[in-house]
């Protein structure tokens, strides 16, 4: 599977185990996420989308890096900041846009919106409006995997803030006691809304908490996709071997505000700029080119194709079907008369 002859001999595993086209596909996904969120933001500003949304711009490295080694039959549980996870796991942006526009074609038929985006067909069990809500759900999915004697895994995304919820503690403890195939992926973007990790927890790293569950705790640069992928791949392999869960902490940053109402009063412009300079996308592009795995022209083409897909996705969504307001109680139960 190696893109033999193209990569430098001393390249790290990440560049060895994936083909050039797989790696370029990862870059494309990062662009899809970025442009998806920029497109969604613009649509929101123009009043085409209502509600709120949480952008993960700046965090694409962990979303794509974490999901690269997953199979379709593996599960993820995601968060309120979940667009990246969703696209990473294989969702189609146009059906995500349709959801944002509240259309029947959307992943949730317009019932869920950004905070409940899910693509069950690719194993995404859903974003979650409840901080920490997905943690025990992922453990339950992993328990099912174990009972069914599959070698799939459940990957659980959550934020630094979520690690202060009781659900975090209960979920990690059960996963470890029962040696379940879960990969806990903490995207530590330094803040839970406005509260920094320094003010919300007494340890320096979320991964420091792994010891309380006799679980490996690994810290990586979340803006370096290769770092993320390699650590996660090891955690996945461990899980598939039946050796239990791992907590991987990706240090990253959201360069946008928490949600639409954020005035960024809790952090400095300098900090934001500093992290913008560490944008995971140009970082990955540079690495791809340095390894001779992509040319500048290819990179441009990837970006443009992602942009075109996003533009088409928005058009698709706008032309979608509005739900019938008389169907408000549809799908509350499975066995109703639709």
């Amino acid at each position: 599977m190696n893109a033999v002859g193209k990569i430098k001999p001393n390249a790290r595993p990440f560049y060895q185990k994936y083909t050039a086209s797989q790696l370029k596909d990862a870059l494309r996904k990062m662009y899809l996420i970025r442009r998806f969120e920029e497109g969604a933001e613009e649509a929101y500003m123009r009043g085409l989308i209502h509600g709120t949304m949480h952008l993960s711009i700046g965090q694409e490295g962990s979303a794509v890096g974490a999901t690269m080694a997953l199979r379709n039959t593996d599960y993820i549980t995601s968060t309120h900041r979940g667009h990246g996870h969703c696209i990473g796991k294989g969702a189609d942006p146009k059906l995500m846009f349709a959801e944002f526009f509240g259309k029947e074609e959307g992943y949730c038929r317009g019932r869920g919106g950004s905070m409940h985006i899910a693509d069950v067909s690719t194993g995404n069990l859903g974003a979650n409006g409840i901080v920490g809500g997905g943690l025990p759900i992922a453990v339950g999915a992993a328990l099912a995997i174990k009972k069914q004697k599959r070698d799939d895994v459940a990957m659980c995304f959550f934020g630094d803030g979520a690690s202060n919820e009781g659900a975090f503690h209960e979920a990690l403890n059960m996963a470890s006691v029962w040696k379940l195939p879960v990969v806990f992926v903490c995207e530590n973007n330094k803040y839970g809304m406005s509260v920094s990790t320094e003010r919300s927890m007494a340890v320096a790293n979320v991964a420091d908490r792994a010891a309380a569950y006799a679980m490996p705790g690994v810290i990586v640069d979340g803006n370096a996709i290769a770092d993320v992928e390699e650590a996660i791949a090891e955690a996945i392999a461990r899980a598939r071997r039946g050796e239990g869960p791992t907590l991987v902490e990706c240090k990253t940053y959201r360069t946008r505000g928490h949600s639409r109402s954020d005035r960024n009063r809790y952090r400095t412009k300098e900090e934001i700029e500093e992290w913008k300079a560490r944008d995971p996308i140009p970082h990955f592009e540079a690495e791809l080119m340095a390894h001779g795995l992509a040319t500048a022209a290819e990179v441009t083409a990837i970006r443009e194709s992602a942009e075109a897909e996003i533009a088409a996705g928005i058009e698709f969504a706008r032309l979608g079907t509005d739900p019938n307001p008389s169907e408000v109680t549809r799908d509350v139960y499975s066995n109703e008369a639709a």
Binding site: L125, I137, E170
Partner: protein
């Protein structure tokens, strides 16, 4: 179909065993349901018959357990989660209400969440305010959940089997004082549909809608009142969501009087909903008297046994309430 006497607890255990026999995706989880046999000995020796993988003792983590049940259900299992006391649902409302109840809807019908949660509930054991609550009305308020409250061994077996079959989350409230109650129970597996009330006693003079242990207290009251010439119809509601309004309406049209008897706190307990449904229905015009509610006191459940009894409806109070209702003295 051969029929034996079983206790309510044994009937539950038999349903659980038969469900596990029939479907390998069914498993049980909870606190001390394994070798301990459950705080109320409902699971008994099931762990020895089905193994620790299917009768799983969990750490004391109610929120986590509920979430694990949700995740396992999403991924193809049919978990049956035992709460040691229904009071501990307070720790798990997030997963029950925000996740289990809403996931199918939020995801546009793309998933279902086939899980069952069992809640030993109610007062009468001297366990005081944090181990004696009747919180069924909370869950009956939540669209996406089904809520049942079987009152007899035969019903709990049949309704629990129906609940485990059900593609949606079903909450089962079991009154602790019923666990030792005996009754005839068919041996083979059978289902009693969720959403159907049961006329436990026919009568002409007044309709009583009762739940759980209050069905038995109401039947006792009805027997006494019969000797006074008052003929009480007792409806065992059985399902709190969805409510079988039609059966109640039919009965009230016949009797012209309605009383609701329930153990939960009177205010916003299940009787409030029954009363409101009748007061807004076509049966309103048939009502010859105000709608009586006999519910739990507006207080936590006290420890002292006499206070504890005073906190929930008892037979003499039910008799008196119904007598006054029928005789027109409110």
């Amino acid at each position: 179909m051969s029929v034996r006497e079983l206790t309510y607890a044994q009937a539950i255990q038999e349903a659980l065993a038969q469900a596990m026999d029939a479907d390998p995706s069914v498993f049980l989880m909870g606190e001390d349901i394994g070798v301990y046999g459950g705080a109320f000995q409902v699971t008994g020796d099931l762990v020895h018959r089905y193994g620790e993988d299917r009768v799983m003792d969990a750490p004391i983590s109610e929120l986590g357990q509920a979430g694990v049940a949700v995740g396992a259900a999403l991924a193809g299992c049919r978990p049956v989660l035992e709460f040691q006391f229904s009071d501990f649902a307070t720790l798990a409302m997030e997963q029950i209400v925000n996740q289990a109840a809403k996931l199918r809807f939020m995801l546009g019908g793309k998933v279902n969440v086939p899980l069952v949660m069992r809640f030993p509930a109610g007062s009468g054991t001297g366990a005081a305010a944090q181990h004696s609550q009747s919180l069924d009305a909370w869950l009956a308020h939540v669209p996406g959940l089904k809520v049942i409250q079987p009152s007899t061994p035969a019903d709990v077996k049949g309704m629990l089997l129906a609940a485990i079959d059900d593609p949606d989350p079903v909450m089962v409230f079991e009154h602790k004082l019923l666990y030792k109650m005996k009754g005839e129970v068919p041996e083979e597996p059978y289902r009693i549909p969720i959403g159907k009330a049961h006329v436990a006693r026919e009568g002409r003079d007044v309709t009583v809608v009762a739940t759980s242990i209050m069905v038995h207290k109401s039947l006792e009251a009805a027997a006494t009142l019969a000797s006074e010439g008052i003929d009480v119809e007792v409806i065992d509601l059985r399902t709190l969501r969805p409510i079988d309004t039609a059966t109640i309406i039919d009965s009230v049209k016949k009797t012209s009087r309605l009383a609701c008897v329930y153990e939960g706190v009177k205010t916003l307990g299940i009787g409030a909903e029954i009363s409101a449904r009748i007061a807004e229905s076509e049966a309103f015009d048939y009502l010859d008297a105000p709608i009586l509610r006999l519910g739990g006191a507006e207080s936590p459940i006290p420890y002292n046994p006499e206070l504890e009894k005073a906190a929930v409806p008892q037979v003499p109070g039910i008799i008196e309430g119904l007598r006054n209702l029928v005789r027109g003295r409110m």
